[in-house]
């Protein structure tokens, strides 16, 4: 467990940087985490993915699989990898303030 400074608040995170409490999350925090993940600015398309991930997490307690994410959020696989290069599932989950997804797909 670690503590990090995001948007002027001290937030609890896991050692690899995922928020412990999804309820701590807000858009400012998302933007700061995105910068750490080398995403300069979150646009509308990023936010569709981020909001979808939070929605699924609230319902099921885990982030969606990439398959579910692309089928139901309306962001196709190709674009998803452009939006979150170097690993969409993990990065989007971190930015969305939810735990690292547990699924393999």
């Amino acid at each position: 467990m670690a503590t990090k400074e995001y948007a002027g608040k001290s937030i609890e995170t896991t050692d690899d940087g995922y928020l412990i409490n999804a309820s701590d999350w807000n858009a400012d925090i998302a933007n700061e985490i995105a910068k750490e993940e080398e995403i300069v600015e979150l646009n509308d398309r990023h936010m569709i993915v981020v909001n979808f991930m939070r929605e699924v997490f609230e319902k099921t307690g885990d982030g969606p699989s990439i398959r579910k994410l692309t089928k139901e959020s309306g962001v196709p696989t190709k674009e998803l990898y452009q939006l979150f290069p170097k690993g969409p599932a993990k990065k989007a989950a971190r930015i969305a303030g939810i735990p690292k997804p547990k699924g393999c797909i």
Binding site: I66, T70, T77, Y81, K90, G103, C104, I105
Partner: protein
């Protein structure tokens, strides 16, 4: 700390359902982690990207000593040869995979291709089976020799399945 893996080259050499899926899951999983991935289909593994065959792969029930019956009892290997057994095992496996969101082969190949992974077919096998580029699904990038494969795998971990 050990160096993280940056690139994998996965060889798929078996054409049964359980022969093709592990390589696909590993390739997709690599891309999800931001690792570059290349898949090289060879020998009967080519069935996984042959347009007319990829929707009809089945579970090999003969000679599989780990096969279990529904309920978990070990299946005597001889039973695997009964007509319909492979079809039944295939049906069961597909059903279970769907539950955990593993897509059918064709959709999985499309998805993996869309992640930016490269998909190749082995030239020696293509020649041996008298195939051509037209026999493959559109996601197959190129028919390459084993030499090309090693060249494209520069800096990659090679995984044979």
């Amino acid at each position: 700390m050990a160096e993280p893996i940056e690139k994998v080259s996965i060889v798929i050499s078996h054409g049964s359902l359980e022969g093709v899926y592990p390589g696909l899951i590993m390739a997709n999983g690599a891309r999800m982690e931001g690792i570059e991935a290349t898949i090289f289909f060879t020998f009967f593994g080519l069935d996984g990207i042959i347009d007319k065959r990829m929707d009809n792969l089945s579970v090999a029930t003969v000679g599989n000593s780990a096969m279990r019956m529904p309920g978990g009892l070990k299946m005597p290997t001889l039973l695997g040869a009964i007509p319909g057994m492979s079809r039944f095992a295939t049906y069961m496996m597909k059903k279970e995979m769907d539950k955990i969101d593993i897509p059918p082969i064709r959709e999985f190949i499309e998805m993996i291709s869309d992640t930016g992974a490269e998909i190749y077919a082995c030239k020696a096998t293509v020649d041996m089976f008298h195939l051509s580029k037209d026999d493959f699904c559109p996601q197959m990038d190129e028919i390459i020799t084993v030499g090309d494969f090693y060249e494209k795998s520069a800096g990659a971990k090679i995984i044979f399945t």
